[in-house]
Amino acid sequence: MAARPLAAVRRYFGRWGLIVALAALPIYYGISDLTNGYQAGFVAGHAVIHHDLSKLGFNFAEGLSNGAIWALIAIGYTLVYGIIELINFAHGDVFMIGSFTAVGLWGTLGLGLTTGALGLIGGLIVALIITMIVTGSLNVLIERVAYRPLRGAPKLASLITAVGFSFILQNVGLLWRGGSPQSVNDLIRAQQPVFTIAGVPILRGYILAFAVMIPLVFGLTWFINATRAGRAMRATAQDPEAARLMGINVNATISLTFLLGGMLAGAAGLVYALYETNVWYFQGFKAGLIAFTAAVMGGIGNVRGAVLGGLIIGVIQSLSDSRLGPQWTEAVVFGYLIAIMVLRPRGLLGEETREAG
């Protein structure tokens, strides 16, 4: 008889545990801001204490826009996992190479702090397209060299080559731009507020992140749902063998998936460089893990889930940065990753893989 309430508790946690865990931080800090107040600044040597939710709002705005970048990377993880059930460890480093390429292209295209608005927008769009092509091709190349020869081998094998490629790319980055973070030109003046909603300033960087993310995600969803190639992708994800029998070129479809994932990572790399205004070879490792957490949180294989997960992880990160201190953020994000794995390994929106059925 004792087993039954226990089972009910387990079912409850299975359904709501992750949502409770996700809501805990913002609710706790919201109540804490309202009751205890927070320090909003100094006037004449005295701390100004506010009792409102605008700091929380600021955390959310910052977090969501950061999360838009993570979402773009997370889609790459989720697409690749959906189709060949591999954690593409090198994906974060493809994103890093995207940032480096973008920064290099600004120099080539002559984009600087004095470039006029029209030239800047045109130049950035050109840089975005070229970066996406470069990272997309890089991702296809990685698949061709490191994953395809191991298609039939145990899963462990391709996971290990993925890790190996991640290290190779990091070293390429290290030789390219040195071992410490490099600041780059703040082309769009990312920290400049554009307007204010309820006391929360909306910065240019935020708008940029969403302006790039939303069209790309809609474009991708349209591509997957409406085109022939997208249908081939879905079919291969469901059952590669059957898809092959139906006349789908499975290898080409997998390459296409890597191309799309790499392109989104490249776009994320450009936005990251514009937004954070610094790049370094190690950014990809951290971003990759955060984005993978996001993909798992949303439900791996699920594009909408990856976007949702990215946005949520961004908010968690921003809350932890401003409340606990940035040095703990990594531990908080990984703590959430483990919590997701324990409480709800299928993610918020449910995973769409073969094993999930």
Binding site: E85, L86, I87, V145, A146, P149, L150, G152, A153, P154, K155, L156, A157, S158, L159, I160, T161, V163, G164, F165, S166, F167, I168, Q170, N171, V172, L174, L175, G179, F285, L289, F292, V296, Q327, W328, E330, A331, F334, G335, L337, I338, M341, V342, P345, E355
Partner: protein, 397 residues
């Protein structure tokens, strides 16, 4: 290619027939003797001796990780956590770090007058093993229900969390002005191993250090060999090959998996404790994700699941990392006109080795017999019957 392989196979069986049946044992005994007299051939504080000590300690870690990844098939990407915990066991219990405490057990006369916790190195070694075994179980628990690649990510996350705590441990107070770790400053002035009757070790004479870690390697090797042939070892391999079938044959899943984590972690912790005292400090900067991959590379290059492979992989990468790259080959890119040193790209080199190894020779340098059967498409006729049992090559599990 297959003709060549058949020819090799033929020669091999010819050699096997010609040698007396006890040649393997004789070879092992010979290797042990060579291992013991090796330091007498080199100057007692040479760079080569230093590289050898580090390489042997890596081999111990590699053997530990081989249990988790090779035997049980649980890809652990957070093995650095046990290096960190082992090293911190030494930092906590073998230095003046907890300066408010005064505990001394069987330590050198000098250390027994100093404040802090000072335990004999052997006690610390055992303690590090136990602490890491407990940590291994804690890390293993959430992964029990997960499938292969999720296990990799969860262990990685744990490894990173331990790394973050190590770096930020200076701001975690454990009472009386003492902190959990010394972060990037490092816990320094740790005790050197001391044995009553032998005296205290010092870094001017590296030979005793070598014999100490060599003894640890032999113990760990012996435990590994016995475990592989035990009921538990067979249970690990069965779980690795087919979890559902193994469980339905009555193998206790939870216990078997957790034991793999615990035993693998304990060896990593012992090696970590040795590194703590050998490097004379415990610094949070040592515990990077790259180290987990470095140890994993040893296991892979040696041959997943192969005990002798793990030893060879550990020694090989140890020498490459601490002798070949920094001392011998470091100037080569400069000579070829490139503007970098080889030490800067060492992780790229290891990444490259991993990819090449997996694509060209996934069974490793000294393959485990069972895995060799799985991975080679052309199986010698004599082994064909055996090969049908573990499943067709490349069934993806």
């Amino acid at each position: 290619m297959s003709e060549l392989r058949a020819q090799l196979q033929e020669w091999r069986s010819a050699v096997d027939n010609w040698l007396p049946p006890w040649w393997r044992r004789a070879l092992v005994a010979l290797l042990i003797v060579v291992g013991i007299v090796l330091p007498l051939l080199f100057s007692s504080a040479s760079g080569f001796m230093n590289a050898t000590i580090i390489a042997v300690a890596y081999a111990v870690m590699s053997l530990g990780l081989n249990i988790v990844v090779g035997f049980a098939g649980l890809l652990d990407l957070g093995y650095v956590a046990f290096y960190a915990l082992g090293a911190y066991s030494l930092g906590w219990f073998g230095s003046g770090f907890f300066f408010k405490a005064h505990i001394h057990v069987l330590v050198s006369p000098v250390a027994s007058t100093l404040p802090g916790v000072h335990l004999n190195f052997i006690l610390i070694l055992i303690g590090a093993g136990l602490i890491c075994a407990a940590a291994g179980v804690v890390i293993g628990l959430p992964t029990l229900r997960l499938r292969g690649d999720y296990i990799a990510i969860v262990t990685l996350a744990f490894g990173e969390i331990i790394g973050v705590v190590a770096v930020n441990g200076q701001s975690v107070h454990v009472g009386d002005g003492m902190t959990l770790t010394a972060g990037n400053l490092g816990i320094s002035a740790v005790d050197q191993p001391y044995f009553p009757g032998i005296g205290s070790f010092n870094l001017l004479n590296l030979r005793p250090w070598y014999w100490l870690i060599f003894a640890i390697l032999l113990v760990v090797l012996f435990v590994n060999l016995r475990l592989r042939d035990s009921r538990l070892g067979r249970a690990w391999v069965a779980l690795r090959e087919d979890e559902v079938a193994a469980v339905s044959m009555g193998i206790p899943l939870v216990k078997t998996k957790l034991l793999a984590y615990a035993i693998g972690a304990a060896f990593g912790g012992m090696s970590g404790a040795f590194f703590g005292t050998y490097y004379t400090e415990v610094n949070a900067g040592q515990f990077q994700f790259g180290f987990s991959i470095f140890i994993l590379a040893m296991v892979i290059i040696g041959g997943l699941g192969s005990i002798w492979g793990a030893v060879v992989g550990g020694l090989a990468l140890g020498y490459i990392n601490n002798y070949l790259i920094p001392d011998v080959l470091n100037g080569i890119p400069a000579k070829l006109g490139f503007n970098f040193q080889l030490t800067e790209v060492e992780f790229g080199i290891f990444g490259f080795l991993l990819v090449i190894m997996m694509v060209l020779r996934p069974q490793g340098l000294i393959p485990e017999r069972r895995r060799r059967l799985e991975l080679t498409a052309e199986i010698a006729p004599a082994d064909a019957q055996l090969a049908e049992a573990p499943g067709t090559p490349g069934d993806g599990t």
